[in-house]
Amino acid sequence: MSDSLLLTDFDDPALEQAIGTLDGWRVERVASTDLADATSARPEARAVLIGTANPTILRAVTERAHGAGIPVIVACADDTSRRRAVELSVEEWFRCPTDAEEIAQRIRAAVGRGTTAPGAVASDLVERVEYEQMLHDSLTGLPTLPVMIERSRNLFKERGELVVLYLNFVRYSKIEEIYGWEKLDAVLETTAAAVREFLDDTALSTSRVMVSFTNDDDFIFFHVPAAGVEAASESEITEMVARLQRHVGSRIEAQHGDDIAALFDIYVGRAHVYYNPKIRLERLIYRGIREAANASRSIEERERARRVADLRSSLRDRAVYVDYHPIVVTDTREIFGYEALARGVMRSLRSPEVMFDVAAEADLVWELSRLCRTRAIEGIETRLQPNELLFLNVDPHDFSDPAFDENEVKYPDRVVIEITERTAIKDYPKFRERLRLFRERGFRFAVDDAGSGYAGLGSIANLEPDFIKLDISLINAIDTNFIKQNLVATMVKFANDHGAKVVAEGVERAEEFKAVQDLGVHLVQGFFLHRPSHLPKQPAKQKAGR
């Protein structure tokens, strides 16, 4: 039945417009008082839209409509009629006045939902919500793989070939580890939007391209060449991938900053699948995906080997420099100290996380740590003001390095050693003994990424820190989340009771700054106030220490 009838007493020009956007619909207007009878008399109606606020009519029409299996939409003038509508279990409602788009959407949703027997309502709707979530990734809006296979089935059969591209995004999990899941969600959203944008723009868009999201952090492209068009060649794909990488990279940098952009890499594997009527189509496609995924992994392996070589040469040439990220006193915004961030001179090793990841794979962590420490500490003399502290990241494993000697570091009273809460410390008594020796020399300690885990305050108390650096995930959007505010307040109270100072890291927005200030956080670090920079050298005569 192509002709869908909407019965209504709702008199609004927006409804006319809405009907115009729906395919094959027409409206029949009835006086409110006649709507119930009209509903019974016209069982072929596809939906009833009730505009009146009269509760008796609302009830009568809804009962008749549901009796005839016709879904009901209610235009609610106020909260009272909305409540009545909800209590009557109407399929959809909207608040008046509203635009044509919403009305059309509500009509579509009501019809799509249909009426169900009262008992079945609950489980059916819950299933529907879950079902929708299975079909589309709610974050990226991209279809899941089974949906994509269904959609490409006929095209693939007709054209006989399909190119699968597997986009392996590496280190997205690192983003989650450092910044929390909300950040990764935001980055994935940016990525998906950038990928879509890119596809609309690319030469491949003349043929059929589909993207799916594997729900982890990889994307899959299907490229079915249009009739009469050759499938993209190897070199075209290589070129496209390079452009895609640049495009996504620049979008991420623009929206999330260069620290996050430096973490990100895409490795693309490809597979060409030919239709074979003897083999089930799904299996062909799944094999193609596996082949493309493996290809992307082997590119990743190759790239990794190249980075290890880069790291070795960087260590040999001492090609590491330090960016200093200011930590300021919250209330005065005066500079209190700097966190040293070591970066590789080579572009591939720009991000400290990447550099240390590569070092861990190649068993070069101590060597890299020594170089980074030396470089950072040089800055106390050459770049910092006499009253400013240097916050230095030290991995707990570095304390086992015989070359890390508390007596050999100059200006111990100006160094704050940051130890991350994330690393498991194996030999606690021995570790604490080492800390004691450093403390006696005048070093101070900070617990980095505090509150990142489920452990709470106990593990922090164990280290008796002078500073507590809150995990970035607690600061990100703290102004809108009251649970984060509560956790930070707990941490500040704990610090005040133990004579420590709390540092909020990753403060990027004015609202976040205000929130941590209101919560009594002592020190702040983040792009909102300063970006990390290569501090200029101070005049040589400056005396360090006090």
Binding site: W93, V129, G456, I483
Partner: protein, 133 residues
């Protein structure tokens, strides 16, 4: 839409008495309240009521509050705007961390104190409206 009308709230608690107490207290303050007595019912009503705020009990038979919160927050259109307040004794660090992980926005400790509950609802509505504008 008139600015003066308060946005709808969905109260989810398998304990009918608790749910009624909350409903009455908030209704007097002018909030339109819908009550659900299970996770499934809450999810069913979610799209119809389109609540600004959900007051969600954690311990419920069937789908518990954690799961309901997770599903609501993943809803393609409503998930972004709804504010979820967990009604529970979240006194441990780990519970609060867990609540953050599934996307909850706030919590009210049980046994709840009604004025605190109302203040918590209000601050979440304020936050939502600030975000929407």
């Amino acid at each position: 839409m008139s600015k003066s009308s308060l946005p709808p709230i969905l109260v989810v608690d398998d304990n009918h008495d608790n749910a009624e107490i909350i409903r009455q207290y908030l209704e007097i303050r002018g909030y339109p309240i819908t009550v659900a007595h299970s996770g499934d019912e809450a999810l069913t009503l979610f799209e119809t009521v389109r609540p600004a705020v959900v007051l969600l009990d954690i311990m419920m038979p069937g789908r518990d509050g954690w799961e309901v919160c997770r599903v609501m927050k993943q809803h393609p259109t409503l998930g972004r705007f709804v504010r979820v307040i967990m009604v529970t004794a979240l006194d441990e660090w780990r519970d609060k961390r867990e609540a953050l992980q599934i996307g909850a926005d706030d919590y009210v400790e049980k046994p709840f104190d009604l004025p605190t509950l109302a203040a918590t609802v209000q601050r979440n509505i304020d936050m939502q409206q600030a975000k929407a504008s």
